[in-house]
């Protein structure tokens, strides 16, 4: 599904290289985790895949089901089925959460040549999804992420993911700043969406989220590269020994 080949990325404005040849293949139905120390380039990878400005791809490619992601506008990537749960969800005063979600859902449907969802159908669906994530009606009415707690923001990201039904979901540290209960809610939300046609790339700093979302493959990222890949047990190794020994192995 997602194919990243030798991806090299620098900042557009400065001569700072962040990704140095990332290779990654995520197949349909799979869950991959990326772990790595702060500053290793995990968020940069997710931003470049989603189409954020400010980065320059100097080499390499990224495709979603064969389509060249790097040539697309961010909204085209979303319509193609890519979703990024932001590490830092953005607050947008003046735009109601519900309006935002409805606009997004219908924009994607339109881009895919589907009919727009009626107001009634949309409402029914969002109510059901929100309930699963313990998001109350009041939160849906408020402006996007404004005044939301850290946990509410992350649950709101998962709600958006559930409503948009993407095929490639990237979660950037969706677990950070969450207490155990909130993390369980998020993990349940993700697990409910697992299906043979959908893949996940879960970026996390800690192993604990992976107890709830079992990954098929774990990658360790350091200094802009994936330095090691393995099964779920690799996450435990990080948990027990830290990144130090892994980084040492490679150096």
């Amino acid at each position: 599904m997602l194919e990243i080949r030798n991806l090299n990325v620098k900042l557009e404005e400065e001569d700072k290289v962040i990704l140095r040849g990332v290779d990654l293949t995520v197949g349909a139905g799979e869950v991959h985790a990326i772990m790595g120390p702060n500053g290793s380039g995990k968020s940069t990878l997710s931003h470049v895949l989603a189409g954020k400005e400010g980065y320059e791809v100097t080499e390499g490619s990224a495709t979603l089901d064969g389509a060249d992601l790097l040539e697309m506008e961010p909204e085209e990537r979303a319509a193609a089925g890519l979703f990024l749960a932001f590490q830092y969800p953005v607050e947008i005063p003046g735009v109601g959460n519900m309006t935002f979600l409805r606009t997004a859902v219908n924009a994607q449907r339109k881009a895919r040549g589907q009919e727009e969802l009626s107001a009634g159908d949309f409402l029914k669906e969002i109510r059901a999804r929100a309930k699963q994530l313990k998001i109350d009606a009041e939160m849906l009415k408020r402006p996007v992420n404004v005044g939301f707690s850290g946990g509410e923001k992350k649950r709101n990201e998962i709600l958006q993911m559930a409503m948009l039904e993407p095929k490639m979901c990237i979660l950037d540290e969706t677990d950070s700043g969450l207490d155990v209960d909130a993390m369980k809610l998020v993990a349940e939300g993700v697990n409910a969406l697992r299906s043979p046609g959908r893949a996940f790339l879960v970026i996390t700093h800690y192993q604990r989220l992976l107890n709830h979302i079992r990954p098929d493959v774990v990658h360790i990222m350091a200094d802009g590269r994936i330095i090691k890949s393995g099964g779920a047990e690799l996450a435990l190794e990080v948990e027990n020994n830290g990144y130090g020994s892994l980084l040492g192995e490679v150096a």
């Binding site: 909204e75 953005v90 947008i92 003046g94 935002f100 997004a104 948009l164």
Partner: protein, 429 residues
């Protein structure tokens, strides 16, 4: 003010002014007093403190600069969907055939032209009186000129709760029309009125509205100014608010080479509340100026000024807003915000926020900002599949929302919002 000796053309203009002839003694006296005020002040010039950001030359010139009449391809007008009592003016002249019957329960509407012919009229206690009170500390010579010369307008007295809004519709049909309109509105104690205004009015419009809101009365005002790109308008609202009264005024300005809206509001009775808000969107040759003066003269009053401007392609926005808290006006709650959203680097926003406070137990805040569309927010929306242009429009409307929320009636707010959306779609890059 520009003294006659400094501005020969201005002096000639003042010399040449002739008051309307005939009419009742009450209006004659008001007009003569206003003319004397104007002659003492002189016409405004660039060097005057409150005209630094807006050039009054085209407003004070003897003749109105021509303005093409804009024909809207889809020809819908604001408030079309709202059930209302319609009063139509064409280039500043009342059109009885296009207007509804002016009689109604709890409301008394007359035309200034009729009332002026009468020997006596209830409006004599207000006509030129609130305008005159609003001339200090800041002179407003074009309002005095209006009181002296205006021949038309509506005089509305409300004694109950009027079910449907009164809607003043200003059509512009002649390229060189120069309209003067003067309205007087009195809400008796406990009365309630919604007043709507829309339309370009004339090539050049000078309008004064005097509003007395008696104790416990509520006045809602929503207007749109737009359509004709080359039109000019200078409007004044002078309001005096009684105890526990409510005043809300919202203006949407789109298009127009020059618009200056002045609001002069006096909170005279305890516990009164005044909200003045404006949303302006300008593209290209567009100069829009809000000049607001709110005086807290009684304790426990609340005032809010919320002004938002979206500017692009060289459009200019001006905000001059003052909160004056007089001695004894304790527990005043005053708020003022003026913000501009620049859609490119060519546009300009000038702000002159002022607070002047002579009471010690008050809460007043004011702020002014200028900014661009937040790239993080834009990316977030696009990453959810919303196309760039739609995402930008969404963020522009979000920026304006604090002002639009000042409109009390939901169906009116919704109508204006959909017109704004359409305007934004037409003006995409």
């Amino acid at each position: 003010m520009v003294r006659p000796q400094e501005n020969a053309a201005g002096a000639d203009r003042l010399e040449s002014l002739r008051l309307p002839e005939g009419g009742g003694e009450w209006i004659g006296a008001a007009r003569r007093t206003a003319l004397a005020r104007l002659q003492a002040q002189g016409l405004p010039g660039r060097r005057d403190e409150y005209w630094r950001f807006t050039d009054p030359a085209s407003l004070t010139a003897a003749e109105a600069p021509p303005a093409a009449v804009f024909v809207d391809p889809d020809d819908t007008r604001p408030f079309d969907s709202i059930e209302r009592l319609r009063i139509v003016f064409r280039d500043g002249v009342f059109d009885p055939a296009a207007s509804d019957d002016l009689a109604g329960d709890g409301i008394e509407i007359s035309l200034l032209s009729d009332a002026a012919a009468a020997d006596i009229h209830w409006a004599k206690d207000l006509y030129g009186v609130l305008e005159g009170r609003g001339q200090s500390p800041v002179p407003r010579p074009l309002a005095a000129l209006n009181t002296a010369l205006a021949r038309e307008g509506v005089l509305i007295r409300v004694s109950g709760r009027v079910g449907r809004p009164v809607s003043l519709i200003y059509l512009h049909e002649r390229e060189t029309s120069d309209a003067l309109l003067h309205h007087v509105i009195r809400l008796e104690p406990g009365a309630e009125l919604t007043l709507l205004e829309n339309g370009p009015a004339a090539a050049r419009l000078n309008k004064v509205m005097e509003v007395e809101v008696a104790d416990g009365a509520r006045f809602h005002h929503v207007r749109t100014q737009g359509r004709d790109h080359e039109r000019r308008a200078h409007t004044h609202i002078f309001a005096r608010l009684g105890t526990e009264s409510r005043f809300k005024s919202f203006t949407l300005t789109v298009n127009g080479v020059l618009t200056r809206n002045e609001a002069v509001i006096e909170l005279a009775g305890e516990g009164a509340s005044a909200h003045v808000a404006g949303a302006a969107v300008g593209d290209g040759r567009f100069h829009q100026d809000d000049t607001v003066f709110v005086t807290h003269a009684a304790p426990n009053c609340e005032s809010r000024q919320v002004f938002k401007k979206v500017l692009r392609n060289g459009a200019v926005g001006v905000f001059q807003g003052k909160i004056l808290v007089k001695e004894g006006a304790q527990k005043t709650d005053g708020y003022q915000i003026s913000q501009s959203l620049m859609l490119d680097d060519d546009s300009q926003f000038f702000a002159k926020p002022e607070l002047e406070i002579y009471a010690d137990d008050v809460a007043c805040s004011h702020g002014s900002t200028t900014g661009a569309i937040d790239p993080e927010a834009l990316f977030y929306l696009r990453a959810r599949g919303i196309a760039r242009a739609d995402a930008e429009d969404l963020l522009v409307l979000a920026f304006l929302s604090e002002a639009i929320e000042e409109i009390e009636a939901e169906e009116i707010a919704a109508e204006l919002l959909s017109r704004l959306e359409a305007w934004l779609r037409r003006h995409r890059r």
